[in-house]
């Protein structure tokens, strides 16, 4: 049941609990209990909104920054990652396998905000060896949702 609830609310967290109970063939009480439990267990970490900012304003940009760092004895990458993700402008931080170590995502910022973050904050951190900033030119798909993906129903009634 948990997985079914999660699969559903991952796509639509605004569904009414009574309706979700009908769809999944269970009771509203059961859904409420599972949601509360999963919130307190840290499985559900928030209910956010997927926004296509390009349609709201044109001066916001998204950036993905590759960061190479020197890991620290006893702490690995965790300490340096923490120093980075604590900046409020950072949207996501991942430890990555491959040619660099951390991938830092900044969303919905102005060009100036991104550049000052990289030059004044990120690059100056002690264990940061180098950074490469990629600006997102166009977002096609986010959180499993195709942006601008409206489709008309082309099916015809062939036979009853």
């Amino acid at each position: 049941m948990r997985e079914k609830i999660l699969n559903y609310i991952e796509k639509n967290s605004r569904v009414e609990l009574a309706e979700l109970a009908v769809l999944l063939g269970t009771t509203e009480a059961e859904i409420t209990k599972e949601l509360t439990d999963m919130e307190s267990e840290g499985i559900i970490c928030g209910y956010h909104t997927l926004i296509d900012w390009d349609k709201v304003t044109t001066d916001r940009v998204n950036a993905l920054i590759e960061v190479r760092v020197t890991p620290q004895r006893g702490h690995g990458f965790d300490d340096i990652a923490e120093r980075i993700y604590k900046y409020p402008e950072v949207n996501a931080t991942y430890l990555i396998s491959g040619g660099y170590d951390l991938l830092v995502s900044l969303e919905g910022k102005t060009l100036k905000e991104v550049s000052s973050f990289v030059t004044q904050k990120l690059s100056t951190l002690e264990n940061v060896i180098s950074t490469t900033t990629h600006f997102v030119l166009k977002k096609y798909k986010d959180h499993g949702t195709i942006l601008n993906g409206d489709k008309t129903d082309e099916r015809m009634i062939m036979m009853p």
Binding site: K4, N7, Y8, E19, V22, L23, L24, G25, D153, R155, M156, I157, M158, M159, P160
Partner: protein, 389 residues
């Protein structure tokens, strides 16, 4: 000039529903719940495999029975899903949709005068296919109180010494009825006792919502007298690829292959390559779609309950078949009035045989958002009818 037409063809009734949906398609703001195909696109990895086969230049005929890789995947799939073993070399034929398989199975098996038992309400092509095969269609009228399942008694009442084939259309279009193993055991006994062959159309086998699908061919003594028909259209959302198959005794499959060879040559090559991918890696897609249909099914049953509309709970396909007899209208009158008053198009149950009279078919191969608006309209309409009384 002489009459250029065959009397047999001219005498076959055209599908009466055309007119209704022609009218519906010209009205504005109509919500139609009439379509009988999935609203999902074919999963991308399957489409991709079709594209790849074109890039590779695999644009030639395949063997008449279809790609051996695909036949092997099919026998593996049926083994794992239904526990039946077929020989991919001699007991499988790939067809242009399940529809072709129905047609050539009847033609391979019927002589003039043979009777074909067709339970109704059911898909509209069994009857014309039987006629075109020179056989005599004999209709068995299924009942709402049996949840539109075929009973042993109904079968026994219809069997004569001319009965050759029993069509088993489950999970059923339009009722959504399924038959359980126990239900099928009763039917199988009669078929063996009376020496009748079964044409089992299991095109909706992936779409059951209460336990796994059971094929009548898996029951003892039935594999040798059953043609199992299935395809990729419904479960894998591949209607436009036109790909189905039939499995059965070599004796019958080889004659079906002969007809297929002369009128079709082989099923579309691109579709066959895509279907191999569907069977190899498509389980999770089917599961996702099934879960989505099941949610919508539950939503509709809940809505009917709220509006006090009587409907048995169907566990298969993507249709519900509510009972509208309380309103004292024919299915067609109801459907036309509903379209007119609320701009909601549903299919009159009578389109699927006389025993569908008094019912309407609602397809839930539509998004939940659309179904919600549709149920508001239906509820509003029904309330109006009741207030008028």
């Amino acid at each position: 000039m002489r009459n250029p037409l065959s009397e047999t063809i001219v005498n076959i009734k055209p599908s009466g529903i055309r007119k209704f949906f022609d009218i519906a398609s010209e009205m504005k703001d109509v919500i139609s719940l009439g379509v009988g195909e999935p609203d999902f696109d074919t999963p991308w990895h399957i489409r991709d495999e079709g594209i790849y086969s074109l890039e590779k230049g695999r644009t030639f005929y395949t063997s008449n029975s279809g790609l051996i890789e695909l036949r092997e995947e099919i026998t593996g799939y049926i083994g794992r899903k239904c526990g039946i073993e077929y020989d991919p070399k001699s007991q499988v034929i790939i067809t242009v949709g399940g529809s072709e398989a129905i047609d050539i199975a009847m033609r391979a098996m019927c002589d003039p005068g043979d009777e074909v038992l067709i339970p109704q309400p059911s898909y509209v092509s069994y009857e014309p296919c039987a006629i075109l095969a020179g056989a005599v269609p004999v209709i068995i009228e299924l009942k709402n109180e049996d949840e539109f399942r075929l009973t042993k008694q109904e079968l026994l009442d219809s069997v004569t010494d001319k009965t050759k084939i029993l069509v088993m259309p489950f999970p059923n279009n339009p009722t959504g009825a399924v038959m359980t193993r126990e239900d099928l055991e009763d039917i199988a006994k009669v078929c063996i006792e009376k020496d009748i062959f079964v044409l089992s159309d299991e095109i909706y086998s992936e779409l059951t919502y209460c336990g796994d699908h059971c094929s009548i061919a898996s029951l003892p003594g039935m594999q040798e007298r059953t043609i199992l028909i299935n395809g990729f259209s419904k479960g894998f959302a591949m209607t436009g690829w036109r790909l189905g198959y039939a499995c059965g005794p070599e004796q019958i499959i080889s004659q079906m292959t002969k007809i297929h060879q002369f009128c079709i040559m082989c099923a579309p090559t691109t579709s066959q390559y895509a279907a191999v991918e569907a069977l190899r890696n498509g389980d999770k897609d089917v599961k996702m779609m099934r879960e989505s249909y099941d949610q919508r099914r539950r939503f509709l049953m809940h809505s009917f309950k709220e509006m006090g509309l009587s409907c048995f709970e169907p566990y298969g396909a993507f249709y519900v078949f509510p009972d509208i007899r309380e309103f004292g209208m024919t299915s067609e009158e109801f459907a036309f009035a509903l379209l007119d008053a609320e701009r909601l198009a549903v299919v009159p149950g009578s389109a699927f045989g006389d025993s569908g009279e008094g019912f309407i078919r609602i397809s839930y191969a539509y998004s939940l958002e659309k179904l919600k608006v549709a149920m508001e309209r239906l509820g509003h309409y029904i309330e109006g009818l009741r207030n008028r009384k």
